[in-house]
Amino acid sequence: MRIITRSGLGKCGLWRHVPTSLLLVAAIALLAGGLYPADSQDSERELAIVLAEDDGPTANAGGNQNVTKGAIVTLNGSGSMGFEGAGNLNFTWNITFSNRTAGTQLADLYGMNQTIHANQTGVYTIRLNVTDSLNRTGSDTIYIIVTEPPKTFLEKNWLSLIILGVLLLIGGVYLRRAIRNLRAGLPMITEAGQEKIKLTVKKTRKIMKQLVKNRMGILGIIILIAFGIMAVIGPSVAGDVKTQSEDPSTMRQKPSEDHWLGTDNYGIDILDELFYGARTSMVVGVVSAIIASFLGAAVGLYSGYVGGWKDEVVMRANDVVLSIPWLVLMIIVAAMLGEIDLTGIILIIGLTGWSYTARLVRAQVLSIKERQYIERARSIGASDLNIIGRHIFPNTFPMIFANTILTVAVSILSEATLSFLHLRPVGEVTWGTMLSFASDNSAFENGLHWWILAPGLCIVVVVLGFTLLGYALDDILNPKLRHR
């Protein structure tokens, strides 16, 4: 992953070479001027006048093509000569490739037929120049648009499949228990079970009541519902946000009826991008927070429960991860992985963000471990796994849950920051990548204020929503834990 710094020029001391290079350029210009023939020869000029009657050679580059990524594109050029005496035709292909991540790349190829390996999505602007031996030219321009191959079912729905799988698993466990009870002739719901359900309902109702009373929490919930809807319907409402426009008149538009927030440098509607990015940003935030919480809870439960030197080792390792500045660790891991897609970003944020949760969970496990019911469970022969799963984890869960919601906020911020520092998911649009491209194309200087303001505001509000809800839940679920 190569990061283009914004003022490499000043930093690498290039300015020191400016006088020298100016001299060099002047010298070359003088030299070239002296060598260049002042006037072409008369005979050639006459010939040109004679030949001007026909239009010179014509070129045919074979027409526009739409291909998927990874395809090998064959360019079959052909050309016809203006008249027979013009000699052989020379074919030159000027190939310009541009897309949002790579910028613009230029290449010239010589020869009649060419092949291009289209290994990146983007647009090839291909111009075929045909030159005959009298230096008359004809040209033809075609576009080859490279799009992502259609996603397979798995790639499209992996997240839904995982969620479905977990739900099925939970359902299966309950079903199995029900079948076992039926077979054994036990009642489906025991009295103790009824009591338990009643208690749970009562507790949930109480929490909901407290949450409704908590003004900040309610504000957070409202914000999150609004953005949740945006994330769910966003990508289907938004138009195509990944193909850049070829028509310069659609680029850099001011807000209008058609484009409420205007269009960006690539001719893409900013509101569309905002709606599309809502889902990606939220998915990154939520999934990576869940990964981080899961890891943190596992480490914290283990280390708190086991105690002794193992605990000491784990906690020292945890300290190490905690003390490397948050962003630095992520930058380094992201750079390590090179080209990253959305899954990569999620994993990076999830895998580097667990240590704080681990510390919190461990502290609580240490206090729970000493309580009497743990002692009792152990005395009737419950295994360690059973004690952790049945007694300790349920007691830490409220805190883990509240903490996960707070982590979502941090994860969304992390994604935006990574994207801004050019460690952005390849070929995806998130609020972070929007900000990144906007600042690369100096949106403020070009008058595209909304390109920077809109995604930033969305991030602020969503982060606020998660933070408010997180703190409200934290207050309600563990009143004594944090003295704030």
Binding site: P325, W326, L327, I331, I452, V461, L468, R484
Partner: protein
């Protein structure tokens, strides 16, 4: 005397922990950096016949890249401890000089902004706790929350744009330099005289403000809630009953009780503040560690990266250590276990 003994024991324990953590940071770094993709030597030796294999080989030897992993690790640890941090692949200068040079600017930035942050945060937090429920309290709390959720770089971009233009055509609007660290066009090479120092301060205003405001919210909110808790306690009532002025109550009885959570928070925030400094430096082209890191990642400049991470980690560990000790002094009730 017993308390001094326990203090000494705690100090020793903490110091041992600090050393272990720093060692851990170094080892973790070594492995992180060495799994980076790309061959750094390939990147600095231009491809072509002009450069033969011997140059490549020499570079490998120079950086011990040919040895086995454990040997490299041993070399790395030894070099780190003896401050022999090697030479940057790209800049061809000694890494320690580069890092110490950049660190001055990051330290200046982080120091200034932390100072502003504490000053403003304590003032805002104390005032809004003191006037709980007032318009000021509600306003300050909601603005704090807004800043809390704000990406640092976003605010940097906005302020940069705001203070390099005249919004709404206001000609009196102050203009601040958008990038760099002093007016190098006007003063040439960095020299320590008054105009240059003033210029440095002027160039510091925007980055330091952005960084301070970004983490201000945490401080003022924590200060507020700590004081709100304290203000309801009995000894405040006693102090009032003694006839102390409101200011006296706040200054001598309430504020000292708000200090411990503040110190703990700032110690925890240091890692975040350094992360924020990276973004600010990047936006404002401020020549600190963050700017250097992003340069170094682009160029796969391993030595610089390694030691930037080490230095950052050590800074955080030391800051935490100092905070712990401060906590012990400020709040004698705390028994650090």
């Amino acid at each position: 005397m017993a308390s001094r003994k326990t203090f000494r024991r705690i100090l020793t324990r903490r110091l041992v922990n600090v050393v272990i953590t720093i060692f851990g940071i170094m080892v973790l770094n070594f492995f992180l950096i060495h799994f980076m993709p790309g061959d750094p030597v390939q990147n600095i030796v231009p491809r072509g016949n002009k450069y033969d294999e011997s140059i490549r080989w020499a570079l490998y030897e120079k950086f011990h890249l040919n040895d086995s992993l454990p040997e490299q690790l041993a070399w790395y640890l030894w070099n780190t401890i003896s401050l022999d941090w090697g030479t940057s692949y790209i800049l061809n200068r000694s890494v320690s000089s580069i890092i110490f040079q950049d660190m001055r600017w990051t330290a200046l930035l982080v120091g200034t902004s932390t100072f502003i942050m504490i000053l403003l945060g304590v003032a805002i937090g104390a005032l809004s706790a003191y006037r709980r429920g007032s318009a000021f309290d509600v306003g300050a709390t909601s603005i704090s929350l807004f800043f809390y959720g704000m990406p640092v770089f976003w605010m940097a971009l906005i302020l940069q744009a705001l203070f390099t233009t005249h919004p709404l055509g206001m000609s009196w609007w102050p203009q601040l330099p958008p990038s760099g660290y002093y007016d190098s066009d006007r003063y040439g090479h960095l020299a320590w005289n008054l105009p240059v120092i003033l210029s440095i301060l002027k160039y510091l205003i925007l980055p330091a403000t952005v960084l301070a405001v970004g983490s201000l919210a945490g401080v003022s909110l924590v200060m507020r809630s700590a004081l709100v808790d304290t203000m309801t306690e009995d000894f405040i009532l006693t102090a009032r009953a003694k006839g102390l002025t409101d200011y006296g109550v706040l200054r001598h009885h309430a504020l000292p009780n708000g200090m411990p959570p503040m110190i703990a928070l700032i110690a925890m925030d240091i890692a975040f503040i350094i992360g924020g400094a990276y973004q600010v430096e990047y936006v404002f082209n401020y020549p600190g560690i963050g700017f250097r890191t992003i340069d170094a990642i682009g160029a796969l400049d391993f030595p610089i990266l390694q030691f930037i991470v080490v230095v950052g980690g050590i800074a955080v560990v030391v800051a935490n250590f100092i905070a712990d000790m401060l906590l012990y002094y400020v709040d004698p009730r705390i028994k650090i276990s």
